[in-house]
């Protein structure tokens, strides 16, 4: 008897669970049908020329990398755009998901792409990432949207986001890399920004002799020292050398490239960077400069946002200058070339194109984010160079602070530019140089020659793996 009751109870439990699940499905189905019927009715009642507006709530996620105190202004710009888009698209609520830039690029987004569930809008690195995702159909083709909005030709360079003639992402801004320097210190020494490489090296030696740290250093993440190292090897071997590694036209162990590594190593050995730099995070890099401990800081123009009211470098407002690396003796190619990138921007999930309302939200986002007003806000408030073509007169009118004027003057005085290595070589090579080789060089565990050989080996393997 007890056995029968237990059996009966078990069956009832399983059956009720199944019925509940079916019930839910049916309800969902019924709701869906009801919604369809309602919308059908609405469509019937509505004027024949106008589509009914679907105001049912829906949510989309924006993955951004505007985290931390120094990116508050950029976050404010994004929030303003979000507000406008939500007003324009009925029912839409954006969920903002802030993630550290490196984590988003190298781990989180890649994992989501693999799992097939990236956010609808996300911070996207141009080359090579966007091309890999585009090839696999993970990104929304923006070409028709840009044509519809009439802004396809308004960008200064969309190459990093273009794959087989179609555009899969939009750069939020541009950047150039050079030396920020402490003008107050320079004035106290009666110096000016160096115009020759010898003058720069003399200043570094003098700063060291003065008991100060010549250059900020924080190499826990390899990309930080590689900004300067990249510029140095491009001075010695030519601005176009890095682009030739992946095609096999140039080699990492080219004597001129090695000269660049050797110069970096020489500066490390002379104690021009803060000791123990391999243990410091990027945030510490800025602090060394803003605290006055380091006199120079090689960084991207985005860093100018720090020297604004309310930011961590507020105390240095009006006391910071910017210069390009002077020409090196015997260097190959244009010696005014500057490392410039338009490789950071927004991409959109291909799935957003399959839903009409999400597509409308994407269009609205692009329209509100990519216009002259927002580009100028990015420049003025956040120190990010515009990614869109803006009339020089308008630019001049909007640039009011000395540092940004100086940066623009440096950018204008360079005759050519080259992108950073990580947009030109394969991910394996980037990992090798960022995580191993540059740190080995700084730590004295390798020589510039061995570094060149090791990188070339990885490069050849990566080149051979291209299908």
């Amino acid at each position: 008897m007890r056995k029968s009751i237990t059996m009966l109870l078990s069956l009832m439990f399983v059956t009720s669970a199944l019925l509940t699940a079916c019930g839910n499905n049916n309800n969902a189905g019924n709701n869906g049908e009801a919604a369809a019927t309602n919308s059908g009715t609405a469509a019937t009642n509505a004027p024949a020329t106008e589509e009914p507006v679907n105001t049912e709530p829906f949510e989309m996620t924006i993955r951004h990398t505007q985290v931390g105190a120094d990116k508050q202004k950029r976050l404010a710009i994004l929030e303003d755009v979000v507000g406008k888009v939500q007003e324009e698209v009925p029912g839409l609520t954006f969920k903002l998901d802030g993630v550290d830039s490196d984590v988003n690029r190298k781990e989180k987004l890649r994992g989501e792409m693999a799992a097939g569930n990236p956010p609808e809008i996300f911070d996207l690195f141009g080359s090579p990432d966007s091309k890999i995702y585009a090839k696999e159909g993970k990104l929304l083709d923006l070409t028709p949207i840009l044509e519809e909005l009439g802004i396809k030709d308004k960008f200064s360079n969309l190459d990093p986001f273009t794959y087989e003639g179609k555009i899969y992402g939009l750069p939020i801004g541009g950047s150039g890399e050079g030396f920020f320097y402490n003008k107050e210190y320079y004035a106290s020494k009666g110096w000016k920004a160096p115009t020759t490489f010898a003058e720069l090296e003399q200043q570094l030696a003098d700063i060291k002799a003065d008991g100060k740290v010549p250059m900020a250093g924080a190499s826990k993440a390899g990309w930080v020292p590689l900004m300067l190292a990249n510029h140095l090897w491009s001075r010695y071997a030519g601005p176009d050398v890095t682009a030739k590694f992946a095609t096999g036209e140039a080699k990492w162990n080219d004597p001129n490239v090695v000269k660049g590594f050797a110069k970096y190593k020489e500066w490390v050995d002379k104690g021009y960077f803060k000791k123990g730099e391999l243990g410091f995070e990027y945030a510490e890099y800025t602090t060394q400069f803003t605290s006055g401990e380091a006199i120079l800081m090689y960084d991207g123009t985005w860093k100018s946002s720090v020297f604004k009211a309310g930011q961590s470098g507020e105390g240095l407002i009006g006391k910071v200058g910017f210069f390009n690396i002077p020409a090196v003796e015997g260097g190959v190619g244009d010696q005014t070339a500057l490392m410039r990138d338009v490789n950071n921007g927004y991409g959109f999930s291909a799935s957003a194109g399959e839903d009409e309302r999400q597509l409308a939200a994407v269009k609205s986002f692009i329209k509100n984010m990519y216009n002259e007003e927002m580009q100028l806000r990015g420049l003025v408030e956040d120190g990010v160079l515009p990614a869109m073509k803006i009339d020089q007169a308008v630019l001049n009118k909007n640039i009011t602070d000395d540092l940004m004027s100086e940066i623009v003057a440096v950018l204008n005085s360079s005759e050519s530019s080259f992108p950073a290595f990580d947009s030109l070589v394969q991910a394996d090579v980037t990992t090798e140089i960022s995580n191993i080789q540059i740190q080995k060089l700084i730590g004295g565990q390798t020589t510039p020659e061995k570094m060149g050989e090791a990188l070339q080996k990885v490069q050849e393997e990566a080149n051979a793996a291209v299908e």
Binding site: R2, K3, T6, M7, G222, E277, L278, I442
Partner: protein
């Protein structure tokens, strides 16, 4: 009810939910991982190319991978030969204090409930070359600053110390529970017979807590094999890959480089190595520990 459960149909009905979860979250990922470990796949593409044992050959001949294996080995050795003796020592001390035992237990347990990120940052301050506690103390004896996290001679040791600090308290509480469950009559009888505190600890308490020490060692080994978070927070595997462990190697070189197939190979190797190490430990040591009955 017991009779009902002997009915195969009822038994299966009750077991199905748990089995489903086990299959979906454990068995399927393992087999999926094993499948992809034999492929060349970038993780994004729909095309998965079967490459046989290529990934395994590559991993076994990959110097960086073996550096990470060696570092996992350091975690195990440090846990077993330094951390566990300290755990036993402190447990014995705390078990014998008469006052504020609760305070000591709470104090040692505290690090275990803190997140690894917080601990990493906290110890980052302690290891700071210029103003960090360690170098300040060493400075009192005229020792030059040590670059704990940026010098490859010290980076791994620094991580091991921090990791040990984080988990020692957790294990102390376990061992302490075992010590306190030993009937006090045994200790009292030995004391009456004239045994010293040291003798009582080594001849009575220690032999009686061998089973729990064995569990602690087992858990330490398993923990050592999956260590990753503390490394990511403290050194990111640097300088120059010197503190890389198998899990961080898998993330850095497989996922970051768009080599999911290879990443899965590393995952399978971690699984196999963990299985081998724990099985060896079970065979060589754990089977010898006998059931304790009072």
């Amino acid at each position: 009810m017991n009779k009902a459960l002997r009915n195969p149909l009822v038994f299966i009905l009750f077991v199905i939910p748990a089995l489903t979860l086990f299959f979906v979250f454990f068995i399927y990922p393992i087999f999926s991982s094993i499948y992809y470990s034999f492929t060349s796949w970038n993780g994004v593409s729909d095309t998965v190319k079967y490459t046989g044992l290529d990934n395994f050959k590559k991993a076994l001949g990959d110097d960086r991978f073996w550096v990470s294996v060696k570092n996992n080995g350091w975690f195990i050795l440090f846990s077993v030969f330094i951390q566990v003796p300290l755990i036993v020592f402190f447990s014995l001390l705390i078990a014998n204090v008469k006052k504020l035992k609760g305070l000591y237990k709470t104090a040692v347990f505290m690090p275990s409930i803190m997140s690894t990120a917080v601990i990493g940052i906290l110890w980052g301050f302690i290891y700071e070359p210029n103003i960090g506690l360690f170098n300040k103390l060493l400075g009192l004896f005229g020792v030059e600053p040590i670059y704990w996290l940026s010098d490859e001679r010290f980076a791994m040791l620094s991580i091991l110390i921090t990791n040990a600090w984080q988990w020692t308290g957790f294990y102390i509480v376990m061992v302490l529970a075992a010590i306190l469950s030993i009937p006090s009559e045994l200790d009292e009888a030995a004391a009456i017979d004239g045994a010293t505190g040291f003798q009582r600890a080594t001849r009575i308490t220690l032999p009686l807590i061998v089973p729990i020490i064995s569990v602690v060692i087992m858990l330490s080994i398993a923990g050592a094999m999956k260590a990753a978070d503390i490394v990511i927070v403290m050194t990111k595997g640097g300088p120059a890959g010197s503190t890389e462990v198998m899990a961080t190697y898998m993330i850095k070189y497989a996922i970051t480089n768009f080599k999911y197939g290879y990443g899965n190979t590393i995952a399978v190797l971690i699984f196999v190595f963990t299985l081998v190490v724990t099985a060896l430990y079970q065979l060589l040591f754990n089977r010898r520990s006998e059931r304790i009955e009072y």
